[in-house]
């Protein structure tokens, strides 16, 4: 059974249909991409999967369980994490605190924090260790005490990934993780994403405009245009699909020179 099953998903905002009857599945351990021109509905699809919006129609199943319409924090608890197109870090918190914030998830009550018994101390130490560990895995450990918004752009994107990983997901959704990066940074990111998939036993879906980046990295590509799926398959096949070329206006200018 696929980890994520999207069936007939439709999302309407008033008169506008952002996503229309989308069928989409992600197998365990897969590394796939969701691409399409601007306004194709890719981020909307992410938003529905993560609970920011509720589906107007269709079903969303994660690990066999229907999650359509659930609140984002519940979906996160079920094992889905994401990054955002426009980087949404906890800006005035430190880099370490950004990651730690994701470790608690659904906290029961603050009583433990007030009483601070030995069990609490142990747990805090563990959390601290886990957070630093994650930072190290993403090469951010030396920034631990710095303010999140003081980081250079590429590091901020990596911090967002570290934070997403902290909630212990099985499915990771990356929304334009390579946006604004130069070619060498993109290469590094490529390697990183692949490593993360293996090391954390994840399934990863990413959205990106850079066709080459996606092709190098992903096993399967799904193409959306105006809210509908127009092609799906291995990157090479999709790239040559006339419908896809037409949707992008035959453009190679998403690629870096």
């Amino acid at each position: 059974m696929p980890l994520l099953e999207v069936e007939g998903l439709t999302v309407r905002f008033g008169g506008l249909t952002a996503v229309s009857k989308l069928d989409f599945a992600v197998e365990r351990g897969a590394l796939v991409a969701l691409i399409g021109p601007n306004g194709a509905g890719k981020t909307t699809a992410f938003n529905v999967i993560t609970g920011v919006y509720a589906p107007s129609d269709g079903s969303l199943r994660f690990d066999g369980r229907e999650i359509g319409g659930e609140r984002p924090h519940r979906i996160c608890a079920a094992g889905v994490a994401r990054t955002f197109q426009n980087i949404r870090l906890f800006r005035s918190l430190s880099v370490l605190e950004n990651v730690r914030a994701a470790l608690v998830g659904d906290r029961r009550s603050g009583l433990g924090d007030v009483l601070r018994g030995p069990a609490w101390r142990r747990r805090e130490r563990d959390r601290d260790e886990r957070a630093r560990d994650l930072l190290a895995k993403l090469g951010l450990e030396r920034f631990a005490e710095a303010r999140a918004d003081s980081l250079p752009y590429g590091e901020q994107r990596r911090l967002e990934i570290a934070r997403a990983l902290a909630s212990g997901p099985r499915l990771l959704l990356l929304d334009e993780p390579a946006a604004g990066m130069n070619p060498s940074e993109k290469d590094a990111l490529c390697g990183l994403v692949g490593r993360l998939r293996d090391e954390f036993d994840l399934s990863i879906v990413l959205i990106d405009h850079d066709v080459a980046f996606v092709m190098d990295l992903c096993e399967r590509v799904t193409v959306l245009d105006h809210g509908e799926k127009i092609a799906e398959g291995p990157p090479e096949a999709v790239r040559r699909d006339p419908k896809v070329i037409e949707a992008y206006l035959g453009t190679d200018d998403e690629e870096e020179p």
Partner: protein
């Protein structure tokens, strides 16, 4: 039935006052997303200015319609200037520094306290009696409902001012600029709209209207004091929220509605709860339709 209509008339009259003050709140919120807590005190300054102007210009001794109009104009002018000064000195520096939402709120509180306490210092804490610029007499009596000339003046003036504002906002270039900035300040700036001047103009307009409200209230309820702006300020604010804060016709409708509801409840149920009505209306609105009668919900793009 007659009593009801009389109450209705009173309610509409008060509603017009609330509307005039509410317009200032709503316009400033529209362009700045700021709740200008000092606005109610501008209304007080208007009444006080009218008091002093009327005495200085001799209208207090010799009541006349012309005298009333001159006093009105003087107060509106003075408060327009006051509004401009407040915007320039207290709010603009914060806006230009991108100081977030709470800092201007504190400033607004500071300005409000300043006006109230300066008012107490300059005008004295004891209430004064606004001169009767019109000799009150009954103008007309339809059935059992009486309309005094003072009430008529209040109603006509309120209507005239609201119509003028509507004209300015909908049919002048400046009004278009106000609407543009209210809709999307950044886009308006990028399109060449002089945002600073629009903001100042909004303050001037709103303050002038509040001053007019002060004069009209002085005419109908002559007891004025430096703290008179607090309750009407809050109520006008509720009226603005009721109509949809940031929405100009909304402020007018909200004011009228609140005035009517308040008067009717106060007349038929109990006058001790008069002040509470506004808050109950506020809570009801916020729970059931926070964007107000005419407001549009704001959605966030994720």
């Amino acid at each position: 039935m007659e009593n009801f209509l009389q109450q209705l008339l009173n309610g509409v009259t008060w509603g017009g006052i609330y509307a005039l003050i509410a317009l200032g709140y709503t316009m400033v919120y529209g362009v700045l997303r700021l709740i200008n807590f000092a606005h109610g005190d501008v209304y007080m300054v208007g009444a006080m200015t009218g008091y002093y102007a009327a005495h200085a210009l001799g209208f207090a001794a010799q009541p006349s319609l012309a005298g009333l109009l001159v006093t009105l104009a003087a107060a509106m002018l003075a408060c327009g200037v006051l509004g401009a000064v407040i915007e320039r000195v207290a709010y603009r520096p914060l806006r230009l520094r991108g100081a977030g939402r709470l800092a201007p709120l504190i400033t607004a509180i500071g300005v409000s306290l300043l006006l109230e306490n300066a008012g107490q210092l300059v005008f004295g804490a004891d209430p004064k009696f606004f001169p009767a610029l019109l000799e009150s007499r009954e103008l007309v009596r339809v059935g059992g409902i009486a309309l005094s000339n003072v009430q008529a003046v209040v109603l006509v003036t309120t209507l005239a001012l609201m119509a003028t504002l509507e004209f300015v906002v909908m049919r002048t270039r400046f009004g278009r600029a106000i609407r543009a900035v209210s809709f999307d300040g950044q886009a308006a700036a990028l399109m060449g709209v002089p945002v600073d001047r629009v903001v100042m103009g909004t303050f001037v307009l709103g303050s002038a209207l509040a001053a007019a409200a002060g004069i009209l209230v002085g005419l109908s309820n002559p007891k004025i004091d430096p703290l008179m702006g607090i309750m009407p300020g809050i109520k006008a604010f509720v009226a603005a929220v009721l109509g949809g804060i940031g929405n100009i016709p909304g402020a007018m409708v909200g004011g009228l509605l609140l005035g009517v509801v308040e008067t009717l409840v106060s007349g038929y149920l109990s006058s001790t709860y008069r002040d509470a009505i506004a808050f109950v209306v506020l809570i009801a609105i916020l729970l059931y339709r926070p964007t107000g009668l005419f407001g549009t919900p704001q959605t966030e793009k994720v």
